[in-house]
């Protein structure tokens, strides 16, 4: 059904669906940190924008989508590896605060340094494979993004089955025990942070493919907040995070459009609902750890 979507609904909904898929990839990036390692990030949009600008810069050389995707992934990983040095020094709520600060600093720096300044920059349509026509129609863009999302999701789900993912879960459950077992937990977290940055960077390349435009506004707190909220709604599951991201984008853009542009109120209400509705998820683990230390 997801594949048939372009033939079922109008162009606006198709491009909305493509945006939702980009957000789903970003939500997986957040889920890697909060769902596995128990550290909530509120700055993932920073790496999305780094990836988007990397793809946009490369677009002057090649329109080939997969090449842009790889470059954006690498750029996101490098940016996350550098800024992650800051984030992995702290845990839990302070981790959230520091990643939020870093994300906003990247947001500010993008306005200063990125090509096009705060106005942003436009990019020609991408080409999915050599020899094919550029992706102009929303339906084809959507299918390209869907294919990339499925590939990324497969890679992420494979990653969650590895020993590395088990170690991250162990850090979330009881970090001192992992340290006592001889693991360097900060290095493990930095590796996770770098991987999450890579996924967010890939989301950036997909964003550029959808909107053909990138501006520092794409690094705004709202994007990071949706990614984190989607990961929390998904309570540890990657598929859940993707579904939640799609729902939140629908709430913000589609339902918000029906309510004459009050999408952010709707988003705020969903954050409040997320906070107050009783549910079991990693926050419980986090607080249990804090209480154990008091």
């Amino acid at each position: 059904m997801a594949v048939a979507l372009p033939w079922m609904v109008n162009a606006y909904l198709v491009s909305l669906a493509a945006t939702a898929l980009v957000m789903a990839v970003l939500a997986m990036s957040a889920q890697l940190l909060v769902g596995l390692a128990g550290q909530p990030p509120l700055g993932q949009a920073a790496y999305l924008v780094v990836g988007a600008y990397a793809a946009a810069t490369l677009a002057t050389l090649t329109s080939l989508g997969p090449v842009q995707l790889l470059a954006a992934t690498a750029a996101g990983a490098v940016a996350a590896a550098v800024t992650g040095l800051l984030a992995v020094r702290v845990r839990a709520t302070t981790f959230l605060m520091v990643t939020f600060g870093v994300g906003e600093l990247v947001h500010a720096a993008a306005g200063q340094w990125a090509p096009g300044g705060s106005e942003g920059t436009h990019i020609p349509p991408v080409v999915a494979l050599p020899g094919l026509a550029p992706l102009v129609r929303p339906g084809w863009v959507y299918l390209y993004v869907l294919a990339c999302t499925l590939i990324i999701a497969t890679a992420v789900i494979v990653l969650t089955r590895t020993r590395f993912a088990l170690l991250l879960r162990a850090i979330a459950a009881h970090e001192p025990r992992v340290q006592a077992a001889g693991h360097h937990t900060s290095r493990l977290l930095l590796a996770a942070y770098t991987l999450a940055g890579a996924i967010a960077g890939a989301a950036g390349a997909l964003l550029v493919a959808v909107t053909r435009y990138v501006s520092p506004a794409d690094a705004a707190m709202g994007i990071s907040a949706i990614a984190l909220a989607a990961a929390l709604i998904g309570s540890g599951s990657m598929i859940g995070a993707c579904a939640a991201a799609i729902l939140l984008v629908a709430a913000r853009d589609w339902a918000g459009g029906l309510l004459s542009g009050h999408g952010s109120t709707l988003l705020g209400l969903s954050f409040l609902a997320l906070a107050y509705l009783p549910r079991h998820r990693l926050a419980g683990l986090l607080t249990r750890r804090d209480r154990g230390r008091t």
Binding site: T94, G101, L269, F271, L274, A283, T287, D290
Partner: protein
């Protein structure tokens, strides 16, 4: 004249930096105490500043009466807002992530409300007429209001540091920051303290909004900007520490004014580096988020 050698474009910018830094301190002091005492990272703290700035835009008419009205409204709305946030996070005690989400939700709804009521364009707020002009400082014109702002903010700083470090109320607050369990065991009412700090932080932030409106005027997005800079002040100064916040706020104020004038575009990197240094030098807190 010795003074004229001292007064050059850079010292004038540095003076702006002092005003900016003191403004950030008044806001961040609330944020850092709220985090230290209640363990809440209030995402709605910038919203409170923005509320104050809009109050100033609405009520300040260029006279002292308008400013007085705006300040009275700020104290009222700050107290109500702080109490509302305290009530909102109360059921979420020991769930820090949910507290962040709840305050973030409030911030989103408020931001949408502000742009609906006050419009999406930036508003400029004029200082009271008596302070509207500028004085000559060694040949450079400097707004009187900004000097007055520095004086008032410095007064608030002194009062706040006295309140936290010398008064009985402050001793209770510091006890709850240092060890909530022990403070409760000795009979201190930690719940009341938590609510009181949220109310106090709210009053400070909204008041800062009224006083700071002619410096950083109300516009959509100002809430996030203020939240980020006061957050950086809190992280650099050490969470829960009021003197640390003062030093960090003055430093951040200089980076955002003098730093931008000297090396344009480097502010974000310098601030990130400052956070990195602060987090590295201070050894890892044994309790998440508590100062070492």
């Amino acid at each position: 004249m010795g003074l004229s050698g001292l007064v050059n474009p850079y010292t004038i910018t540095a003076l702006d930096g002092v005003a900016y830094g003191l403004l950030l301190f008044v806001i961040a002091a609330g944020l850092t105490l709220i985090f230290g005492v209640a363990g809440v990272f209030s995402m709605a703290h910038g919203t409170l500043y923005l509320a104050g700035a809009y109050i100033a835009w609405q009520l300040a008419d260029g006279g002292w009466v308008g400013l007085g009205l705006a300040l009275a409204a700020a104290v009222l709305i700050g107290a109500v807002g702080g109490a509302g946030l305290a009530a909102a996070v109360r059921p979420l005690t020991d769930r820090p992530l949910d507290q962040v989400l709840a305050t973030l939700g409030v911030a989103y709804i408020a931001a949408d409300g502000f742009s609906t009521v006050f419009g999406a364009e930036p508003r400029s707020v004029d200082p009271p007429r008596a302070l509207a002009g500028s004085v000559s400082l060694g040949g450079y014109q400097y707004p009187v209001y900004r000097l007055g702002f520095i004086a008032v903010a410095a007064l608030i700083v002194v009062l706040l540091i006295w309140l936290v470090e010398r008064s009985r109320v402050g001793a209770v607050v510091r006890a709850v920051v240092a060890d909530p369990g022990m403070a409760a065991a000795t009979g201190l009412r930690t719940r009341t303290t938590r609510a009181a700090v949220l109310v106090g932080g709210g009053v400070l932030a909204v008041t800062a909004g009224v006083l700071g409106a002619p410096v950083i005027g109300p516009a959509p997005g100002v809430d996030t900007t203020i939240l980020v800079y006061s957050l950086i002040v809190c992280v650099v100064g050490g969470l829960g520490s009021i003197r640390g916040a003062l030093l960090a706020a003055l430093g951040v104020g200089q980076i955002l004014t003098l730093g931008v004038a000297l090396v344009p575009g480097a502010a974000a990197f310098v601030l990130a580096a400052a956070m990195l240094v602060a987090l590295t030098v201070r050894h890892r807190p044994s309790l998440a988020g508590r100062p070492a």
